[in-house]
């Protein structure tokens, strides 16, 4: 990326003018926001008529590219507001450069905050049980009702680059989890607000001192990068620990017995009701959640595997039928599969019905592609036609003799086939979509029937038994209703969704699909997932965790309940290092440790250190020196206080070293931390978050995490860790605040919050005012997604709009070749 200084020189006036436009936009925007309740925005931004909104289509200008606002703090450049663009002269270049620097100074934070606030305003109105509907129109003129955050964000067609980035993050999160788009935006907005407040407070006096220097920009960039790294550290190291150590004792399980994973209906009902509360209209959510519950229990066998969720998720479109013009309460579940087609021929049949699937026409044709058929005489033509007819007839007769009474075809069959099917009492359904065919094949494990080339009386192996096959009439439209006998754990059922308008049906369909996604995540073998996650992501996580466990060891002294949560943390940066440690430990052999024991850790170790530059090695060696310096007292400590402990481990993380380098605070603090760590990192037991973890709804997760994060922050020694934890902890409260927005008195947010904190302090169980459960996994994933998104935002220092699509390098090459 070009350095902004260079680009500032190169751009000159056009850039300045555009920056002015940005300013105009920002003021307009601020005005709009002041009059919040009634403002109407254009794609969440000022009406398109507004002059030079950077969010609108870039207007054609002389410049090849255009700098988007990493926004300018208003107080920094007050005189520019009074100057219209026409008045501005070319001589004011210097000012532009100055602006650029101050603009870059705040990074993309402010822009992101403004974007997020607008999105929050829209999203928060459909959040939670009190949320309302949003009506979206499609360009085709259809209307869609939605409370689905993802859909809304997409429907807005945002143009601001940061907004688009946020939307991208949300949709990738949704694709995975199917839930939490609205919470995502609200949480992100609060995080940005928190960060903004913190930086404002900290940096304002500083900014006054040396506002002119270009170097500031880079300093700030460093600062943002620094914060974003702290966020990454938090997400990868601290969050898991807190979840596991503190939060996990509040978790409930959706399963009535954890071992067999049996699911009782009432808890699933609670979970689904809470889910649909936020996704469908108030008057329908109970009904829809009951419907979903019924569907779930009808489809699933006792050996419900994850594959069933995958199947339903993948083929949800084929598994439901929408019927407009009927009240929602007419929606129901039908056993078997409903194909949205009518029979080409229907022959009522009962008893032993077998079916075949074909993917090509049964009638042989004169010529296949690539071949030539030469007709030499009329008689030849007639005989071949006769042969075709006889052949078709014979195939259909053969099918009949095999008791095949249903023919599903993915292509249109000729009249002849249809006729002989009718004559032989075989019902035919034509033109099935490839998804329908593959769904049927997955349910019953049937491969397509290929008409035999040489006719034989052999048995057709590719048939399947069907319980029934009959027409189904829904609101005077005919469908094919098949009673498939599933060979997998999925018992085929279809949902018939009714509603007065198509838009409402689509909303319900969407919500049901999302619910399956959510359940799919909830039922995942999370313990495994979690473990691999920690070993993958926590490349540098040992630092925190050990320290953390150190804290928990202090706890018993003060009389707190024992929470010796074991840690399965096995990351060793590389084997070399381990060996070094090993030898090191050998030297100090006064520890109760054997080489054998240490060896056992080697299989766990995942050498993820990919950035081993010279510098790193240097750092490592540096660190090692320091460690050796300080190791002596620790070992003493160890031998006295923790003499019964098992293993000792040393972890030297690359990233932490880098952080300390950048901050320039010297390596005193990390080292001292590490010392403590080493002393406490003795026990490794496996721990995990089992599948099916739930918490009561109503912001319980947020309040709990908030509480524990604050506690953690209090004990934390590093200032940036404290800051990040505090910001996240406070931002978390934004979610329950929205949820309880409309409540008053005893159920208002402050009351709830105080009660919860009091309960936590006195070790009493939390009492939730609302019934309903929500998935912890979903919340956890949401949290990590938001933090990742925030990191992404913070690391951007400049947005450059180019006229053309940024072309891929190899594309250009190929064009050159041409």
């Amino acid at each position: 990326m070009n350095s902004p200084r260079e680009s500032g020189k190169g751009l000159g006036l056009p850039l300045l003018v555009q920056l002015l436009e940005i300013l105009v936009f920002l003021t307009a925007f601020a005005d709009n926001r002041a009059a919040h309740p009634t403002w109407q925005s254009c794609g969440a931004f000022p009406p398109s008529g507004q002059k030079g909104s950077p969010l609108a289509q870039p207007r054609s200008r002389v410049t090849g590219f255009r700098v988007f606002s990493p926004p300018i703090p208003f107080p920094a450049v007050p005189p520019l507001f009074s100057v219209g663009p026409g008045v501005l002269q070319a001589g004011q270049k210097g000012e532009a450069a100055q602006m650029l620097s101050s603009m870059a100074a705040t990074g993309s934070l402010k822009a992101a905050l403004q974007v997020a606030e607008v999105l929050e305003a829209i999203v928060s109105c459909c959040m939670g049980p009190e949320g309302r509907q949003v009506l979206c129109t499609k360009p085709t003129g259809e209307v869609l009702l939605s409370r689905n955050g993802g859909r809304l964000l997409e429907a807005l067609h945002l143009q601001h680059p940061i907004a688009r980035m946020i939307v991208d993050c949300v949709s990738s999160h949704l694709k995975k989890t199917g839930d939490g788009a609205k919470t995502f935006i609200i949480f992100l907005c609060h995080l940005l607000r928190g960060l903004h407040a913190v930086t404002d407070r900290e940096k304002d006096p500083l900014m006054c001192e040396n506002i002119q220097t270009h170097g500031r920009h880079w300093k700030n960039c460093c600062q943002w990068k620094f914060i974003s790294q702290a966020l990454v550290t938090f997400q990868t190291q601290i969050l898991d620990g807190i979840m596991d150590q503190y939060l996990s004792r509040h978790f409930l399980s959706i399963f009535s017995s954890a071992k067999e994973r049996t699911l009782c209906r009432s808890s699933l009902e609670l979970l689904l009701e809470a889910y649909f509360c936020g996704r469908v209209g108030k008057n329908n959510h109970k009904f829809i959640s009951q419907l979903m519950c019924d569907y779930f229990f009808k489809c699933m066998t006792c050996k419900t595997g994850i594959d069933v969720f995958e199947l339903v998720d993948d083929y949800f479109v084929e598994l439901n039928v929408g019927v407009t013009g009927l009240p929602v309460s007419d929606s129901r579940i039908i056993a078997g599969l409903v194909l949205q087609k009518d029979f080409s021929v229907y022959c009522p049949a009962d008893g032993d019905i077998r079916m075949v699937i074909v993917t090509e026409t049964i009638q042989p044709l004169f010529s296949t592609s690539g071949s030539e058929f030469i007709l030499n005489s009329e008689a030849q033509f007639q005989t071949s036609q006769f042969w075709i007819m006889e052949k078709t007839k014979a195939i259909m007769k053969h099918l009949r003799s095999q008791n095949v009474k249903l023919l599903l075809s993915s292509v249109k069959q000729p009249d002849l086939v249809i006729y002989y099917a009718g004559v032989n009492g075989i019902s035919v359904v034509e033109c099935l979509s490839s998804e329908e065919v593959s769904l049927i094949r997955r349910i019953i494990g049937l491969s397509p029937f290929v008409p035999p080339q040489a006719f034989s009386q052999c048995e057709i192996s590719n048939t399947a038994l069907v319980k029934f096959c009959k027409p189904l009439i829904l609101r005077s439209k005919r469908y094919v209703h098949l009673g498939l006998i599933g060979t997998c754990t999925f018992i085929p059922h279809c949902v018939v969704l009714c509603g007065p308008v198509q838009g409402l049906i689509e909303q319900h369909e969407d919500a049901l699909h999302g619910a399956f996604k959510m359940l799919r995540q909830l039922f995942k073998d999370l313990d495994l997932n979690y473990m691999t996650q920690t070993s993958d992501q926590n490349g540098t996580s040992s630092l925190f965790i050990y320290k953390n466990s150190g804290e928990s060891y202090q706890a018993p002294d003060t009389g707190k309940g024992s929470i010796q949560r074991p840690y399965q943390d096995t990351v060793v940066e590389n084997k070399d290092e381990l060996e070094k440690t090993q030898t090191y430990l050998k030297v100090h052999s006064n520890l109760v440790i054997s080489d054998v024991e240490l060896e056992t850790y080697i299989p766990y170790s995942t050498p993820t250190d990919t950035f081993e530059t010279d510098e790193t090695l240097k750092c490592l060696s540096l660190e090692r020196n320091m460690l050796t310096d300080d190791y002596e007292p620790l070992l003493k400590n160890n031998s006295t206080a923790y003499s019964t402990r098992g293993n000792n481990r040393i972890d030297i993380s690359y990233e932490n070293l880098q952080v300390t380098n950048i901050t320039g605070k010297g390596s005193m603090l990390p080292v001292s931390c590490k010392l403590q760590n080493m002393g406490d990192s003795q026990s490794y037991l496996s721990s995990s978050m089992p599948a099916g973890c739930v918490l009561p709804v109503g912001g319980n997760f947020e309040i709990l995490l908030h509480y524990y994060l604050l506690n953690y922050a209090k004990k934390c020694h590093q200032s940036e860790e404290t800051m990040v934890s505090m910001i996240i902890a406070n931002a978390l409260l934004g979610i329950p605040r929205v949820l309880y927005k409309s409540k008053t008195g005893k159920y208002s947010f402050p009351h709830i919050y105080i009660r919860a904190v009091h309960a936590l302090q006195t070790n009493q169980p939390l009492v939730s005012s609302q019934t309903g459960l929500e998935s912890v996994t979903g919340k956890y994933q949401l949290l990590t997604s938001v933090l990742q998104c925030l990191t992404k935002i913070l690391t951007i220092d400049l947005v450059i709009t180019v006229k053309r699509h940024p072309q891929k390098v190899h594309n250009q090459d190929s064009e050159d070749e041409l």
Binding site: V134, C136, T137, L152, H157, L158, L375, Q502
Partner: protein, 570 residues
């Protein structure tokens, strides 16, 4: 490379219902639909300003399908009404008016949407459970052993569509025809699963309505010349019919993806024609009397068949195929080769018929579940309206067959229901609220809004400045002429209530519909003898009305729940 255009940002509006334009457009729509409602409703003429087709109507289906609404909220409303009409045919205007009224009434209250929606839902379920209950005072059982109630049902539908332009005598005639057509579609010996036949409506414009008639079987329209060419068949037994769905014109069917090379001098046309003639020979030897083809029959084959005294009729079209299959019991033949003898069907007789200026080939079935309703009306627009009305009536009869109940029409059900809800919410609010967070005051407010919405639906039955009253015993509707002299003697001014069940000679007390009233208990449990004696009742279909009620409340709830409208401007 294709030009990619970036999408325009969408337009996002908050609190759409508070905007003035939405209110105005909603009230315009409301005025349009209310003015159409009922037997004395005003007609709407729809045309596009460039000439061409003009539609005169007062039916919701025709009206809404021609109205182009652009605002998304109105679109929700109109599409939900249209969807209701396409599944139940009737009660479209009722649904639209009720929905508009509910939105308007509730907006005036200024309660939060959550409360409104929750209470509306409670009231709706109260209505539905009452209308479905045994004690319901406004529904009567439909007796299929006599035509009386069925005729009332059909007559009510016909009279509520003034754009059909029928006189009283014509109404009687057409309602009898519709009922006959419906009865003809019921199979005679039905056990268990009944599959209804079909009534085909055959247009016969520019004739008197009185000339309309019903015939069993199928009429195929033909030119006179064609008809003359068909030879009369003299046969005492049933005629054997072959019905082809494939073309008999001598086209060469699909030859596959590869190439077919034809040597010089080889005439495929001749080959195919040979094949066709062979087919003809087979048909003749199978003693087929009548060959019907969906597509075209080759002239040579036609002539060959004619020579052998076989009637050949082609170009029947796909719409008639299903009724023909059903009526004759054939299997549509898709093969030019050997035909299985099971594929042939039969008809009792064929004849030619002339109605007005049109000539028809009439297939008379052995057993009739298919009939043709020849419908006449003076002009195109009136005929279109009459046709729609007939379809509605036939559909309503089918729905009634499934659920043999009818509701009292003429607005009596609505006023009765409103009285019931008022009474229920006053005397037993706890049972409605149950464990909800809503207060009783909120319930009273919403119930009043709901009831007045119901009552103003029937209020719009009156278009001529008359007054609408309701009695305090049954909760039925009574209307007074606009120019009635004084209020002193109600029993003399009022003769019958809206549905015609009660007359004013009973000891009743009345009050104006629009005035505030004390809640009273409307008399439930209808006296059956009263129903038996009344011969001229106005009735509504229960199924359609129930669904209309539900759709109206659901749609109103949906619209009231909207907090943003995002319009895609692409």
């Amino acid at each position: 490379m294709s030009r990619l255009e970036a999408k325009k940002p969408s337009l996002c509006k908050s609190e759409p219902l508070t905007s003035e334009t939405v209110r105005t457009t909603l009230s315009v729509l409301k005025r349009i639909v209310t003015s159409c409602y009922g037997p004395s409703g005003r007609l709407k003429q729809l045309h596009n300003g460039f000439g061409g087709y003009v539609c005169t109507t007062s039916q919701s289906s025709a009206l809404l399908s021609h109205l182009l609404v652009t605002h998304p909220i109105l679109k929700i409303l109109t599409t939900s009404v249209q969807n209701h009409v396409s599944s139940f045919s009737d009660c479209g205007l009722f649904t639209a008016i009720l929905c508009c009224n509910l939105i308007e009434n509730v907006q005036r209250l200024g309660l939060t949407p959550t409360t409104v929606i929750r209470l509306n839902k409670h009231l709706l379920s109260l209505c539905i459970s009452y209308l479905k209950s045994e004690t319901c005072g406004c529904r009567i059982p439909v007796d299929f052993s006599s035509t009386q109630i069925l005729l009332c049902l059909v007559r009510s539908i016909l009279t509520s569509k003034p754009a059909c332009m029928l006189t009283r005598k014509e109404t009687e005639h057409v309602s009898a025809l519709i009922l006959r057509a419906f009865l003809l579609t019921i199979p005679e010996n039905a056990e268990g699963h009944i599959i209804l036949g079909k009534s085909l409506i055959v247009p016969l414009k520019d004739q008197r309505v009185i000339d309309s008639t019903v015939l069993p079987g199928i009429l195929i329209e033909m030119s006179e010349v064609q008809l003359m060419r068909l030879l009369p068949i003299k046969k005492s037994t049933a005629l054997k019919v072959a019905l082809f769905c494939t073309t008999l014109s001598g086209d060469i069917s699909d030859t596959g993806e590869g190439t077919v090379v034809v040597s010089y001098g080889v005439s495929l046309e001749n080959a195919v024609l040979d094949q066709l003639l062979n087919l003809g020979r087979q048909l003749v030897s199978d003693h087929v009397d009548l060959v019907l083809c969906q597509k075209v029959i080759h002239p040579s084959l036609k002539q060959f068949l004619n020579m052998h005294r076989v009637i050949a009729v082609d170009r029947i079209g796909v719409t008639l195929m299903e009724p023909l299959t059903k009526m004759t019991g054939t299997q549509p033949i898709g093969s030019l080769g050997s035909i299985s003898p099971n594929s042939y069907g039969s008809v009792k007789d064929v004849c030619t018929a002339k109605f007005g200026s049109k000539h028809f080939f009439h297939l008379i079935p052995n057993e009739a579940t298919i009939c043709s309703l020849l419908l006449c009306n003076r002009n195109d627009t009136a005929w279109d309206e009459l046709k729609l009305t007939c379809q509605t009536a036939l559909h309503i009869l089918q729905l009634t067959l499934k659920e043999p109940w009818a509701l009292l029409g003429g607005g009596c059900t609505e006023t009765h229901l409103a009285a019931y809800i008022r009474h229920k919410t006053h005397n037993d609010p706890k049972s409605i609220l149950k464990d909800d967070e809503c207060t009783q005051t909120e319930l009273q407010l919403i119930a009043e809004a709901f009831c007045s919405a119901l009552e103003s639906v029937v209020g719009s039955l009156e278009h001529d400045g008359g007054e609408i009253l309701t009695d305090m015993k049954y909760g039925h509707l009574w209307s007074v002429q606009a120019d009635s002299p004084c209020v002193a003697n109600w029993p003399d001014l009022l003769s019958h209530c809206g549905c015609g069940l009660y007359n004013s000679q009973e000891e009743l007390s009345w009050s104006f519909l629009r005035s505030t009233r004390h809640p009273f208990v409307p008399q439930i449990c209808l006296p059956l003898e009263a129903v038996g004696s009344a011969s001229n009742l106005t009735l509504d279909c229960l199924t359609a009305k129930l669904s209309g009620l539900q759709v109206a409340v659901e749609t109103a709830n949906l619209i009231l729940d909207l907090s943003y409208v995002i319009e895609d401007k692409n």
